[in-house]
Amino acid sequence: MTQTSPSPQGTPGPSGTALLPTVVATGGEPTASAPAESPGPCQPAFMAARVTAWDGAAGHRIASVELVNTGPGPCSMFAGARVQLMDGSGYILIDGAPPAASAVLVVAAGGVLTTVVQDGNYCGPAPVPPVTVAIIFPDGLGRVVASPVSAGDVSGVPPCMGEAGSAGDIEMQPWSP
């Protein structure tokens, strides 16, 4: 899926800006401890995401999402992100809100993060398959669109539980290493 692009992974971030505790996501080789200095922010171009499954919950759809650092080195990213529910035409079915400040994670090269994304109350027109989740990276870095469960999957579209025209919602739990 599409990824926007920007600076190479592994460059120390401008901020070095972890306001909250840093945790580490490991790849094939376990990392024993957090580095002394945080690496640069994760770039969408070097991150790959996929929706591994959808399940449901009383008006909601819950996506299990994996995010992999495909870059050559570690990078940093906030544990929370703005997420979107997107259809196969690129139309944003539901747009999430930016999260509050959250912890910063260090993702090792090849490291995998997981989360669950929940959406609800889609009252719009029928979407174009497949429907998946997009993760918006902060500071205008771009977004990563997760691979859908399948080419025709629309199981992530929640039912309309409000009145016609009422807004939907989507949010994620913090990334977990």
């Binding site: 919950a57 008006g59 739990q173």
Partner: protein, 657 residues
């Protein structure tokens, strides 16, 4: 509602907060005239909620009658008038912070809204209980904090389809119950994945839900229609519900949005009408939910999921907010406890009849099937139950008593009704009164010669009868037949009389018949005695043998105009006869003495014929048997000093021809 003529309230908008705020800014700032601290009031009629205290401000919604507002201050605003039972006018407005517990900010995107004052009444107590529904999405939840925030119940996702178990279900169940919250589980239905196997999904749910007494009714979450058509989806839903009910005796509640129920289940009322009365309706961001299936067959909603993004202490991120339509969750609680009660508590049935009791099982809404039995039945009573394995709320107990053969004894019997379910035993008592339906048993009339009486052309004969019955004898009736003629009613001294003395003529055949009515009104058949006739044997009869010195004497007052007498000690007269009774007729007077009387050779009595004055044709002794036979009566003078005379005027026998 209120508003200027022709004004139509626009539809509610969640988005467009900015536009609404701009509208608000077009009005003068509201001037507080009174302050309140979260005072709740209920609408007396449909009332418009506006973005500013003016009838020209945007109408955010129309609150239905009964909607509860939480107001923070009373403000002066534009003039208004409204018909709300009667005509009201004014210019004060409530600043409304919430409707039915929901912030107007979340509902309409405005910090405060306004409703005309005077159209509300105080709310005595909250009519709802608040709760949440959760799933793995929420992760770990601090349930004590959630409970402290006023939440009273938790509905946790347990399963989905076949094979998916919410990884947080056990944690949620344990945590919520540990914090004192009522808790239950729901199954996320996947008819899209298992279109032909609703039972499999039900089994998966039952096998994992671990429903125990104290939990609330579980729920079936319907929001994925799959490709099943309406009819097939209805069948699917019914099969799932019935499977759960069959396995654990619980009728689940149904979770659905009004849109889903109407679109995919054709707004059917069949589930509400056929044992699934509890709806957990999902309708977000509205002041009151739309309830499908004709207001769930006029039962209304029981649980309402009114928001999907509540912020509740103890929960990270959004959590669904739910409301219970009441303040007591007991009726929704699955409990093995139950009560059993008969109606009526007591019934009366005549012997040979049947009666029925309705046995009501009060299940506190949900429980397992219950086995009902009855014991302590009196003899001759059989019991049948319309259902001994009760899966619903009642069964019918029919008791049949016996009349023929060995009848059920009359009496009042406490019956023990035992109901067993969920490992618990509950008993109650019903009273069965068996009333008398059997007529009295009548002993046929019998006849007795009696003494002292006077012999005439007739002789008084006592007729006796009797009857027995468990409920007592209320009255008797007696009839007489003469010489095989017609039966004639005999007037009795009292309806309860059991004997009668009537003069019977010699040479005439009599028959008496009796019947009885018992205390329950049962009347026996007429019970006739045998025929009877009185026979007079004068002292001259050849059947009378004399011993000793006996003399004959004419006496106009004597029977037949003559008699025999003796004065010597040991003089005897023996009368041999066939009959059931015998009487000795003699004369009494100052010069008469005593005689010993023997019957069939056995001494019976010494009879004194002495009297201050003379009297003729006196029956001075009588003896009776139960049936007719050959007998002898012997009279022996004892030679009473000074007046030794004894007489034999005649003997009278009673025969049963």
């Amino acid at each position: 509602m209120i508003g200027p003529p022709g004004h139509r309230a626009p539809g509610r908008r969640i988005a467009g907060v900015l536009a609404l705020l701009l509208v608000v800014s077009a009005f003068p700032l509201a001037t507080p005239v009174a302050m309140a601290a979260d005072v709740n009031l209920a609408a007396n009629c449909n009332v418009s909620l506006r973005s500013a205290p003016s009838t020209t401000a945007t109408a955010l919604t129309i609150m239905p009658t009964g909607a509860v507002i939480t107001w923070t201050e009373l403000v002066a605003g534009g003039a208004w008038s409204a018909t709300c039972g009667s005509l009201f006018t004014g210019s004060t407005w409530y600043a409304v912070a919430a409707i039915d517990g929901q912030d107007v900010a979340s509902l309409y995107g405005v910090p405060v809204a306004y409703a005309a004052a005077s159209l509300f009444r105080p709310v005595d107590a909250p009519a709802f209980l608040e709760g949440v529904d959760v799933s793995r999405w929420q992760g770990w939840i601090d349930y004590p904090s959630l409970q402290a925030a006023g939440k009273r119940f938790v509905i946790a996702k347990a399963t989905e389809g076949i094979g998916f178990l919410d990884p947080m279900y056990a944690t949620n169940k344990l945590g919520a119950s540990g914090a004192g919250l009522a808790v239950t589980a729901y199954h996320y239905a996947r008819p899209d994945l298992n279109p032909t196997n609703p039972q499999g999904e039900a089994d998966w749910f039952v096998d994992n839900v671990g429903l125990v007494p104290g939990m609330l009714a579980p729920a079936l979450d319907l929001e994925v229609p799959g490709t099943l058509g309406t009819a097939a989806l209805q069948v699917w839903v019914g099969a799932w519900l019935d499977r759960v009910y069959t396995r654990i005796g619980v009728r689940p509640m149904i979770y659905a949005s009004p849109t889903f129920w109407r679109k995919y289940l054709a707004d059917t009322t069949s589930f509400a009408d056929q044992g699934y009365p509890v709806l957990w309706v999902a309708h977000w961001f509205v002041a009151g939910p739309t309830v499908p299936a004709n207001n769930w067959s006029n039962r209304g909603w029981t649980f309402w999921q009114y928001s999907d993004c509540g912020s509740v202490p103890g929960v990270s991120g959004c959590v669904d907010l739910d409301r219970y339509n009441g303040t007591d969750l007991t009726p929704m609680t699955f409990g093995a406890d139950f009560a059993v009660a008969p109606a009526p508590l007591a019934a009366s049935v005549p012997q040979g009849g049947s009666t029925a009791y309705g046995i009501t099982i009060s299940r506190l809404f949900f429980t397992t099937p219950i086995d009902v039995s009855v014991s302590d039945l009196p003899p001759g009573v059989s019991a049948t139950l319309s259902a001994a394995h009760v899966t619903d709320s009642s069964t019918t107990l029919t008791l049949s008593t016996t009349l023929a053969g060995t009848p059920t004894p009359v009496g009042t019997y406490p019956l023990t009704i035992t109901a067993i379910g969920g490992g618990l035993v509950r008993t109650t008592t019903a009273t069965l009164s068996v009333t008398d339906a059997i007529p009295p048993v009548v002993t046929p009339p019998a006849y007795r010669l009696t003494y002292p009486v006077k012999l005439d052309a007739t002789i008084p004969v006592r007729t006796i009868w009797s009857a027995v019955d468990p409920s007592g004898i209320g009255s008797y009736g007696v009839q007489r037949q003469v010489n095989d003629g017609a039966w004639v009613d005999v007037s009795l001294p009292a309806t309860s009389s059991t004997s009668l003395i009537e003069p019977l003529s010699f040479g005439t055949t009599y028959m008496y018949s009796a019947r009885a009515t018992d205390g329950a009104g049962n009347i026996s058949e007429w019970m006739p005695g045998t025929r009877a006739a009185v026979v007079l044997a004068e002292q001259t009869s050849s059947s009378v043998a004399y011993a000793g010195t006996w003399k004959s004497a004419s006496n106009a007052y004597a029977s037949g105009g003559s008699l025999k007498y003796a004065t010597g000690y040991g003089a005897s007269a023996t009368y041999a006869f066939t009959g059931s009774s015998v009487a000795w007729v003699a004369y009494r007077g100052p010069n008469r003495g005593s005689a010993r009387v023997y019957v069939d050779g056995v001494y019976k009595k010494t009879i004194s014929l002495y009297a201050g004055t003379y009297s003729s044709k006196q029956v001075v002794f009588a003896f009776n048997w139960g049936s007719s036979g050959v007998h002898r009566i012997k009279v022996i003078g004892v030679g009473t000093a000074g007046h030794p005379r004894i007489d034999v005027d005649a003997f009278v026998t009673l025969t049963l021809p």
